[in-house]
Amino acid sequence: MPATTKTNFQLVSNGILNDNPIFRLALSMCPAVGISTTVMNGIMLGIAVLFVQVFSSCTIALIKDHIHPRIRIPTYTLTIATWVTVIDLVLAAYMPAAYKEMGIFVKLIVAFAIITMRLEVFACKNSVPASFWDGIGMGLGFMAGMVAIGFVRELLGMGTILGYDVLGFRPLLFFVLPAAGFFCVGIMMAMFNYMELVYNRKKKG
């Protein structure tokens, strides 16, 4: 694949819609199920992923000419692990409450397939600015997915949005449980499929 010809805007929107890491690529599902109980969690983890993705993409795009092809994957892993450590330390220091809420998942960003995949598919072939925008798109896409699931689960599970009481009662406590995360993701994926179906049909007809 040659260097991308997409504009920055296309790169970002691609990450949010066409290649949404949660609903379309179905990568990094663990946090989407595990801690998407509130909108706030989604935003916080989304920011963490965004930073890791952007930093790693830029790093790899910067040094892509100096990476020996044999040690490509170890280099990616090292890069991601370094940035995850940095983000982890910063979050633990400056946002202890949110960090505690997210538990082990911040550290687990290191095993998110989405980041490695973007490095392999995109950053190692493109310039730093393009990789930057692609990283932003992917991070935002991830965040959007997490926020969408978090919205549904927080509203139905606790009757609140971002901690503010909206409904005044708790409709279905079930949605607080992580088991509900599976259903939410499954049903939202199906909705994405359905929208695609309708879109394609419209295009044809």
């Binding site: 663990c30 892993t77 992580p178 995360g181 599976f182």
Partner: protein, 320 residues
């Protein structure tokens, strides 16, 4: 081929159990064989030989307390001695908190007229049982896939066919045990003493890659047949968050070597069980008329949700 592998696995497990049995019965005083909790408010002390009845039945010869609170003595209301005079049962006024190790002091144990000195005895829950509960806990009760929601990408990726699922599960178990043990070792003896724990992510992921590479090389050389069967899954192992979550949990909870082994083994086997169940169900689902928009991943997620719903039955369970 396969059977041989199974035999070795069994043998290993037997060996491990034997080691536990030897290690588990360490006496703390040469004259005391065993101490244990009994019922809700009793502690039993087994002596190596008969003790003098007048000594044994004297309540003031014993003191007992919870380990963190040595100054707060538990009230002993009665001591009974078995017919062969080798087993004393202390009865307490209140129920004991068995989660807490207890310390029983038997002053000047007297056997056949001789004084054998004072014994400080630690009474705690059966250690083997504790290890077993870690194993079962990680395997089923707190199954990493259905109750902790980790390792999902690989879980959904390889659970389409039973044969792939089993292959992946076995490979994964091998790698996770190897890498978790290495991580535990490095964490305990390098990272923690030198206060380098902030490097844990990098070190653990490096060790995972290393053990994947090692398993790859060893399998290729030692057992090409097995490598042919399982080699393809090795790459996927790194993308599984369980493999990095287990060392992190081990580091957080300060488990010792045996406990770490049990947790990693349980995590691996639990992943295998989850994969196996999911794949057998998904194979059957292929015959079903699933709504078109749900075909593929969405229905797999709904299924996993139903699994998670039924695994709620295990919530709050503690085996020992």
């Amino acid at each position: 081929m396969k059977i041989l592998g199974r035999k070795y696995l069994l043998l290993n497990i037997l060996l491990i159990i034997c080691l536990f049995l030897i290690g588990g019965c360490k006496p703390e005083h040469r004259f005391v064989k065993k101490t244990a909790f009994k019922d809700t408010n009793k502690i039993v002390i087994e002596f190596a030989g008969p003790v003098d009845e007048t000594w044994a039945k004297n309540r003031s010869n014993y003191t007992a307390c919870e380990k963190p609170d040595p100054d707060i003595r538990l009230k002993i209301i009665d001591v009974s001695l078995s017919a062969d005079k080798k087993k004393a049962t202390l009865v307490f006024a209140d129920d004991l908190n068995k989660n807490q190790p207890h310390v029983v002091t038997a002053t000047k144990i007297s056997s056949e007229g001789k004084s054998l000195g004072t014994a400080i005895l630690n009474v705690k829950k059966f250690y083997l049982g504790y290890l077993f509960s870690i194993l079962i806990g990680a395997m089923i009760i707190n199954n990493f896939v259905f109750t902790k929601y980790l390792g999902l990408c690989v879980f959904f990726g390889v659970s389409q066919k039973k044969s792939t699922a089993v292959g992946m599960g076995i490979t994964f178990t091998l790698v996770i045990v190897a890498s978790a043990m290495m991580s535990w070792f490095i964490y305990q003896f390098v990272l923690q003493p030198y206060r380098l724990d902030f490097l844990q992510i990098v070190v653990f992921i490096g060790l995972v890659s290393l053990s994947v590479q090692a398993v790859d090389t060893i399998l290729r050389k030692v057992n090409p047949l097995l490598f042919k069967a399982f080699g393809v899954y090795l790459v996927l192992v790194i993308a599984n968050c369980i493999i990095i979550a287990v060392p992190l949990i081990l580091a957080d909870n300060e488990y010792n070597a045996w406990e770490s082994l049990m947790l990693s083994l349980g995590a691996g086997l639990g992943f295998l069980i989850a994969l196996f169940l999911m794949s057998s169900v998904r194979e059957r689902l292929e015959l079903a008329n699933v709504p078109p928009t749900y075909r593929g991943l969405p229905i797999a997620f709904v299924l996993a949700g139903l699994f998670a719903l039924s695994f709620l039955g295990f919530s709050g369970m503690s085996i020992f």
